[in-house]
């Protein structure tokens, strides 16, 4: 029987996604035995031209953010060759950490890089010497370029998401094709799955805003109730709660839960309904402001992983009016 072909390509990748996949160890190798790996920079030595020459792969996996013209081309190339395209990792799906560069724009990002003290003169001249791919104004979601079939969210995708992906791979090798648009992992908000329960589930109130080092954490109690900002209410529960279990609040790396498209705005709204609800009347506006001013870098908190695919960034890029 002909073995199905697998290609894995990288955009702007930190390597974590690759490691997360490889971490599956034996489970991965037993499935990969059924596949021909035609492209995967970390594993087999093929050049990009060879990917171009291949007429068809069965499963194409795109990892990493799309930050340059080259990444866009690569995503298009992979889409055109693959029967099933997998968007792997939060960077690919929502922009991820590199997506925060959308705040600065390409020109300022390059300036920042070139004029830091650690950069040598030769590097400053680099773009003139070599023709580098053009940096996009903002890192972008793969969805703005092509339509993937399968989404594996997470930074990096959790074991449960990876195992769900392996299942798809092994099904495919047995001739069962995935249908429609599939999001791997639990779709509901993280709070549903969280082990730290609030005192009263129907009414969580945050009586202060504190950073982790500023308080003595009670280990089985809801973070929000203790005043620590946690993105649980709006984040997809596709992970195995590694942060929560290790006494760290959720930072939203799985992207928005089902039916939420802009997790930052949604969380901002939720936060306003939780924060100091019992104390509103005595604190009044001034007191509320004082506590809210403890939140610095709101974008970094609310949009750490999803800025390029947010409504908010449309406002920044001014692409809403076609002017």
């Amino acid at each position: 029987m002909k073995r199905p072909k697998l290609a894995i390509v990288y955009g702007a990748i930190c390597g974590g996604c690759d490691v997360a996949l490889v971490n599956l160890g034996e489970k991965l190798t037993t499935i990969l035995e059924k596949y021909d790996i035609v492209y995967w920079p970390a594993v087999v030595d093929f050049r990009r031209d060879e990917l171009k020459r291949i007429s068809e792969v069965d499963i194409g996996i795109y990892m990493g953010a799309l930050v340059s013209s080259e990444d866009i081309e690569l995503a298009k190339l992979l889409r055109s060759r693959s029967k099933i395209l997998v968007a792997y990792g939060t960077c690919t799906i929502y922009g991820g950490i590199p997506g925060l560069s959308a705040l600065l724009g390409a020109k300022r990002v390059l300036e920042e890089v070139r004029f830091t003290l650690t950069t040598s003169l030769e590097e400053v001249e680099l773009p003139k010497l070599a023709k580098l791919p053009e940096l996009l104004e903002s890192a972008t979601s793969i969805l703005k370029v092509v339509e993937p079939n399968i989404f594996a969210p997470g930074c990096p995708p959790s074991d449960s998401v990876n195992e769900a992906l392996l299942e798809v791979l092994s099904d495919y090798a047995r001739g069962i094709k995935p249908k429609g648009r599939i999001f791997l992992g639990e779709p509901t908000p993280l709070c549903n799955k969280c082990t730290r329960k609030p005192t009263d589930t129907s009414k969580i109130s945050m009586s202060k805003i504190r950073r982790l080092h500023e308080l003595k954490l009670i280990e089985d109690k809801c973070f929000l109730e203790q005043g620590v900002l946690c993105m649980g209410p709006v984040t997809r529960a596709a992970c195995d709660l590694p942060c929560i279990k290790n006494n760290l609040p959720c930072v939203g790396c799985n992207g928005p839960a089902l039916d939420i498209d802009d997790m930052g705005l949604e969380m901002l709204s939720a936060l306003s309904s939780l924060l100091l609800v019992e104390e509103e009347r005595e604190l009044l506006e001034e007191g509320l402001v004082k506590e809210m001013d403890r939140l610095v870098d709101l974008i970094g908190i609310l949009y750490r992983y999803t800025l390029p695919s947010s409504l908010l960034i449309k406002l920044k890029l001014g692409d809403h009016r076609g002017e």
Binding site: L103, G105, D262, G264, L265, E266, L268, S269, L271, S272, S273, L275, L276, V277, E280, R281, L284, E285, L288, V289, M292, L295, D297, L298, I299, L302, L311, L312, K314, L315, K316, L317, G318, D319, H320, R321, E323
Partner: protein, 141 residues
């Protein structure tokens, strides 16, 4: 070329700011026509998303009018919720590079038709000075 006029969306709660707008009408006070009032049950109903969508759909400024704190809101504490949302959103927008003056919240009771007119005129003026909201990469905060 047509002269640019700012567009302002005002979300007013039905019990206070909205009633004030009606009172202004009944008392024949006039206020600028650039403002589009939208009456909602309570200022606490205004989600951040509603505000952002207003900006995305062409508003140059967004005004939110509710009942006076601490005790006037018809739904007890909707105005406090609105206040927190607007304050945090202002922080968010200025981090993004947009002038937070484009967003304003005011408490206007049902009898304060005069105040409504003053606020609308003032706000319109401010937004007019800021100019149209295009791409906001270079807007000075």
């Amino acid at each position: 070329m047509v002269e640019w006029k700012p567009r302002i969306v005002a979300f007013l709660c039905r019990w206070c700011a909205g009633s004030a707008a009606e009172l202004a009408g009944i008392s024949r006070l006039s206020y600028p026509a650039e403002i589009i009032p939208i009456i909602l049950p309570c200022s606490g109903r205004v989600s951040p998303r509603l505000i952002i969508e207003a900006f995305l759909n062409g508003a140059d400024g967004v005004l939110i009018g509710g009942c006076h704190t601490p005790n006037d809101c018809h739904y007890i504490s909707g105005n406090f919720k609105a206040f927190k949302r607007v304050y945090l959103l202002k922080k968010l927008l200025s981090q993004l590079g947009m002038n937070p003056m484009r967003l304003r919240i005011e408490w206007i009771s049902a009898t304060e038709a005069q105040k409504l007119v003053r606020v609308v005129e003032e706000f319109l003026n401010e937004v007019e000075n800021l100019g149209p909201l295009g791409g906001i990469f270079h807007e000075k905060a």
